[in-house]
């Protein structure tokens, strides 16, 4: 890096930092002076609570699950997808039916849909786990189908036949 590009990079970095501080300042000022927010302390408590719950409860749980139980990458990937679906879908599952008299709010069977999605993830993981063996498995299935069809065709015939 030449001295000039280093200087430009430093200027940009300082500008970005100042912009960030300005944004934070604007947000904090607004939060403290908004006439509708009666007690900004509430927001602080909920923000701190979110951090404590996430870093002190949720993440240790994930790490424990990761180190103690799950070693296979595919299963791990499936659990990542399940965790995401849970984080996004759980509120709807919990609140299904609470529509304040507005049937167009939360109109779907969320628990069923959530369980369906979990099943879909399980199937996807199982299929991918079997993927290296798929060509062989396919051949085996095809052979099985051929054999069954052949025995079906050559069974003692009474009435209808499959072909001919």
């Amino acid at each position: 890096m030449t001295a000039r590009t280093a200087r430009t990079a430093r200027t940009l970095r300082t500008a970005l930092a100042l912009l960030g501080i300005a944004g934070i300042g604007y947000g904090v000022y607004g939060l403290l002076h908004d006439p509708y927010i009666r007690d900004p302390l509430d927001v602080l408590v909920w923000g701190a609570g979110a951090v404590v719950l996430h870093d002190g409860f949720w993440l240790p749980l994930v790490l424990l699950a990761g180190t103690a139980l799950v070693r296979r990458p595919l299963l791990r990937g499936g659990l990542v997808v399940v965790a995401a679906l849970t984080a996004v879908g759980l509120p709807a599952v919990l609140r299904a039916g609470v529509d304040h008299g507005n049937p167009s709010l939360l109109p779907l069977p969320y628990l069923r849909n959530y369980l369906l999605l979990l099943a879909a993830v399980a199937v996807a993981v199982a299929v991918m786990a079997a993927a290296p063996h798929v060509p062989g498995a396919l051949r085996a299935v095809a052979a099985f189908v051929r054999r069954s069809l052949a025995s079906w065709r050559h069974r003692p015939v009474r009435g209808r036949r499959l072909r001919d």
Binding site: A9, R13, T14, A17, L19, G20, I21, A22, G23, I24, Y26, G27, V28, G30, L31, D34, I37, R38, D39, D42, V43, W46, G47, A48, A50, H54, D55, L59, V62, L63, G66, T67, P73, R76, G77, V80, V81, A83, A84, L85, A87, V88, G89, P91, A92, R95, V98, H100, G101, N102, P103, S104, L105, L106, P107, L108, Y110, N113, L116, L117
Partner: protein, 389 residues
């Protein structure tokens, strides 16, 4: 003369706490995964940063459309017709995508929470404080935003104002974080070979997670994903007359319309019209989306009288601001003001019908406003009065 070099106060070293306190997760080697490393953090940080910035910009657009400052008010464009539908759809889509991205990013950098010593210098302490602020703001933003789409408000503060101010703290914190980490980000911006084993699998899982949550929720606004809409709080075709409702007539106290309902239009030449008289005026049909701030949207065919025809009849000046009053008593959107850019748009209607039928009470019977590129809460229902200001 010797120059006196003052030390930057940010670089003042802080005393390290006694080693005896270094227990539990603070001990070295607690976190065994190889993936708690900067390159993975940079890749995930780029994805998360993009999602957060899209979410911020689209949220700002929504805020400005909903509550414009006076200098901007008369310049808000009524086009593109689908504009708000797209930006607000993106707002909720990027916000939902940010949930697994933030989760993954925080997993990667989690060991840094227990770095030792906790603060080396004043700069380091401030940086960590900034990260705490960024994290708190982001977590609360995503949490309140997600629950708002379900109209679930378990917290003691108002949603809209808090969500708005926290967004500035979150994005400010993000910019500060990028500035603080700039050298590390630059050092790990490009892929190095050989690739770290397991990183691809992790990134693939996170991408799959983002894809999954997007596919099963985006159908509330993206028409061709509707059949996959499994976890979104809305389905664009479910509701009275095949359209969702944000606030019902029962909630607004407007289930029955006064028998003597007339549309009052106040201006230089005030007048009022009964429903028959309104229906006798030239009627227009337009295809317009109703796009809610909560992220769902649906197109419908609206029929009624062009708003500009009603305003012309009252002798309104072209650039006049219009105030629309609803029969609704206490809602925050019972009174709405509309700049001329919308009021004069040929697509803006005082709608009397939707999809060929008279409006359902939940959709604003006897009459509602429908305008292009406007948030749903400003498409005032149960209209009783128009005023030229």
């Amino acid at each position: 003369m010797r120059r006196l070099r003052l030390r930057n106060p940010l670089d003042v070293t802080l005393p390290a706490p006694p080693q005896a306190l270094r227990r539990g997760p603070f001990k070295e080697g607690t976190f065994r995964s190889r993936l708690h490393e900067p390159r993975t953090a940079v890749v995930l940080g780029r994805w998360l940063g993009a999602a957060v910035l899209i979410c911020f910009v689209t949220g700002l657009i929504s805020h400005l459309l909903q509550q414009p400052p006076t200098w901007l008010r008369d310049h808000l464009p009524s086009r593109p017709v689908q504009g708000y539908r797209v930006t607000q759809g993106l707002h909720v889509i990027s916000g939902i995508a940010a949930i697994p991205l933030l989760g993954a990013k925080l997993w990667v950098v989690y060991p840094r929470l227990f770095s030792w010593p906790p603060a080396r210098t004043v700069r380091h302490a401030l940086e960590r404080l900034g990260i705490a602020l960024l994290l708190a703001a982001l977590l609360l933003e995503l949490f309140t935003g997600l629950l708002n789409t379900l109209q679930w408000y378990p917290w003691p503060f108002p949603f809209r104002q808090t969500h708005f101010w926290l967004a500035w703290i979150a994005v400010g914190g993000l910019l500060l974080h990028i500035a603080a980490k700039a050298p590390e980000i630059a050092a790990h911006w490009r892929r190095t070979k050989p690739a770290l084993p397991g990183r691809r699998a992790l990134l693939g899982s996170v991408a799959a997670a983002v894809g999954a949550v997007t596919l099963v929720t985006a159908g509330q606004t993206v028409p061709w994903l509707r059949s996959l809409d499994l976890l979104a709080p809305r389905r664009p075709d479910l509701g009275p007359q095949g359209l969702p409702v944000n606030r019902t007539a029962a909630q607004a106290g407007t289930v029955t319309t006064p028998a003597d309902w007339r549309l009052r239009v106040d201006g230089p030449r005030p007048y009022s019209l009964t429903m028959e008289e309104l229906l006798a005026l030239p009627q227009t049909d337009v295809d317009l989306p109703i796009a809610c701030v909560e992220g769902w949207s649906a197109s419908a065919r609206w029929g009624g009288v062009r708003l500009r025809d009603l305003l012309d009849r009252a002798g309104a000046a072209h650039g006049a601001l219009v105030r629309v009053t609803s029969l609704e008593r206490n809602g925050p959107y019972a009174v709405m003001t509309m700049p001329h850019t919308y009021a004069r748009d040929p697509l803006t209607l005082l709608a009397l019908r939707v999809n060929g039928q008279a409006l359902h009470p939940d959709h604003g019977y006897p009459a509602r406003i429908i305008a292009p590129n406007r948030p749903g809460v400003l498409q005032t229902k149960w209209v009783s009065r128009l005023e030229v200001l």
